[in-house]
Symmetry: C2
């Protein structure tokens, strides 16, 4: 019998209990031991549940119980999750978490403590919900150099963009619908501003390349400025707009990492990842492109990933899994302004022709896009082969000529 404690009885926590209850036989068979929840930590009361007597409000009870060898942290947020997880690892308890903020901000430190104490710190559920991605990257691709990862990592924004693309909803209406359906929080900033996707690409980058990347060091742009005009221009260009988190290993040994909306070609595997689904492309030197697709969030997908990690922990009490990365290092993140970029730009001037002529004199040449639903005095075009800084400068030069830059969206090459 393996006794575990679950910290937090919210969406994921109750899902973990549900999965453990409904799949007991198969889980026991796979873990080769029965897994029993001894404690659930939550400040609220949950009377009337079959496991109501497991609840405690006192973390110390869990920490001081030597029978508890595995703690599941599904509270979310940085505090007190971080303090609890750290205390567990320092006291001989392996930890499984779905908390992306925790892993993105404290991963290197917690992995080092786990390693020192020969414990597991597992977080398959922190990226991609029920999509297996952490394990495939760390294990299956072991004989392969990962060179680049790019993915649709946030289901809420992907739902909003899909509604904008398929049903011509405005951003505001699509967000309201997402909130109504429970896909978006009442305060949607972490999703729509790209912070959630940023945490996830940080975790994948840290894992794939072995050095911690902190979210605050990553260029991050959300989807709030995208309009239906941009959606139309993307369509004309031959693709769709997706919020992409990406990281690429450069020859210099630095990584180019960012989160931003991008034009993605219709032929790309990522272009057909719609609604609340996630899709993650892992490019390797031997494997080529491998793409993982599925529901990136939700109670049961996430809970099943958590429980799979618990099973792995039970099976490997004495053999640490080889998840590990080093602390962040200086000059590891490439200077964003120096990176090469391609972009779509939408501008307004006295007339469309005036806009194009200004754009051509500033950029040399641009590729014009012909809107299906043209807006008076607006124009869209794409440019390529310049750095982020150069793009900024040229957009500023456009503004100086009286051309208003309404939006610019980068163009992906996958």
């Amino acid at each position: 019998m393996a006794y575990i404690a679950v910290l937090g009885h919210g969406v994921v926590g109750s899902g973990v209990l549900e999965v453990l209850t409904t799949h007991t036989a198969s889980i026991t068979k796979r873990a080769k031991e029965e897994i029993k929840v001894k404690y659930i930590l939550d400040l609220k009361d949950f009377p009337g549940l079959p496991y109501s007597d497991c609840f405690t409000k006192d973390f110390q009870v869990i920490l001081n119980d030597p029978e508890i060898q595995i703690v599941v942290e599904v509270m979310g947020g940085l505090h007190p999750a971080y303090d609890f997880v750290k205390a567990c690892l320092e006291n001989g308890k392996s930890v499984v978490t779905s908390n992306k903020e925790l892993v993105a901000k404290k991963g290197a430190e917690l992995l080092a403590i786990a390693q020192r104490n020969n414990l597991n710190f597992l977080f398959e559920a922190s990226v991609g919900g029920g999509i297996p991605i952490i394990r495939p990257i760390s294990q299956c691709l072991a004989a392969n150099e990962v060179t680049e990862i790019a993915g649709i990592l946030n289901g809420t924004t992907n739902f909003i963009l899909t509604k904008m693309i398929r049903e011509q909803m405005t951003f505001g209406d699509a967000l309201a619908l997402a909130q109504k359906l429970g896909y978006a929080e009442r305060d949607p900033r972490a999703d729509v501003e790209g912070d959630d996707a940023c945490r996830k690409i940080c975790i994948l980058a840290s894992l794939a390349f072995g050095t911690h990347v902190y979210p605050d060091s990553v260029y991050t742009e959300g989807i709030t400025k995208i309009t239906l005009e941009d959606v139309d221009f993307a369509d004309v260009w031959g693709g769709v707009i997706k919020l992409i988190g990406s990281v690429k290993m450069l020859e210099s040994g630095q990584v180019h990492i960012m989160v931003c909306p991008m034009f993605v070609h219709r032929g790309s595997q990522l272009a057909s990842v719609d609604d609340v689904f996630n899709g993650i492309m892992v490019r390797g030197d031997a494997t080529g492109d491998v793409v993982f697709y599925g529901k990136g969030a939700g109670k049961l997908p996430t809970a099943s990933a958590v429980v799979a990690d618990v099973i792995d922990c039970v099976k490997h009490f004495k053999a640490r899994k080889y998840l590990f990365w080093d602390e962040a290092k200086p000059n590891y993140i490439a200077d964003f302004g120096s990176m090469k970029t391609s972009a779509y730009v939408r501008v307004a001037a006295e007339s469309g022709d005036a806009a194009y002529s200004a754009a051509e004199s500033v950029f040399g040449s641009v590729t014009r896009l012909l809107a299906k639903k043209p807006v008076e005095s607006e124009a869209g075009f794409t440019v390529s082969g310049l750095t982020e800084n150069e793009l900024q400068e040229k957009l500023a030069a456009l503004e100086e000529r009286g051309v208003r830059v309404l939006n610019r969206i980068r163009i992906s090459d996958y």
Copy 2:
């Protein structure tokens, strides 16, 4: 130092040597031990290679060397691969293989021997080349009941179908091109008749549901009868034709398993899997649909999957991985004729109208498809809600009425 032997120096075998050579540092780091190829078994000579002195023609040398704890079998074919692998497992050596025929036909027996001797028998590379699929199914989905698997499992036929769909090539021309490009063998039967896909769905079915399914018990249909008229009708219907291997767990505890071309809706993740790529959908009760996409074959993708298994073996000398399934059992495969089906049918009669009127009187009602490039006196339609046997009977009844049945292709529901 972990010494291994490689059986076979063909495409995959030489790829394994290449991956081990080019990724030595990262592999050693991950395996926590250096991996050294001590023997390569091949009947041919390969002078002038950096590892030419490792070659042997005598399997007994490998079998009798106690230093060899892991043997990599990448010869392909059933004999002598099976005999060698069995001998290895019976003599205390773990085995890693990319040989789908071996696993599909002898998996249960070899897994049982491996289990008895506490050895590993790993075969990530046998399905999906470099796409991680065996491990995700067996581990990450541990806390999840897999209910269904469906996939594009053969790159050669997918290349041919893609050429037929995108470039209106005939089957014959597309096959010839595939042969010219090295994607298809001179004798292409194993690919185009569906046998290769059948072996792979057998492996996935065995793994996901725990009971061995032998290829000769699976209804298997290839793509040789598909014409450009069918491709056109699929387009009109709203999708594309793909060769699908699928297995579904029924409520009865039996499995419905088959390999056949299918109409796949354009919105499906499988519809956009083109060229030599593979895509595998795993449906779970907790995770929902998860799709894995990538290059399903090729020297380096396959070799990197083999080497990843070798690394896993080195790390788990004393802890067997939990790949396992039971021997086949009677009445486990559901009677194919009793299964419900939906299908597209293409027929010829005196006129299109005569064909439809016969079809309607035989089937009750059909959904007519309006070809974009109509062929004189041919008609296409879809039917649903009947069993495979009923479909066969009704098609025979159509023939009795003088309507020639030119093709019928099943319709997928994913």
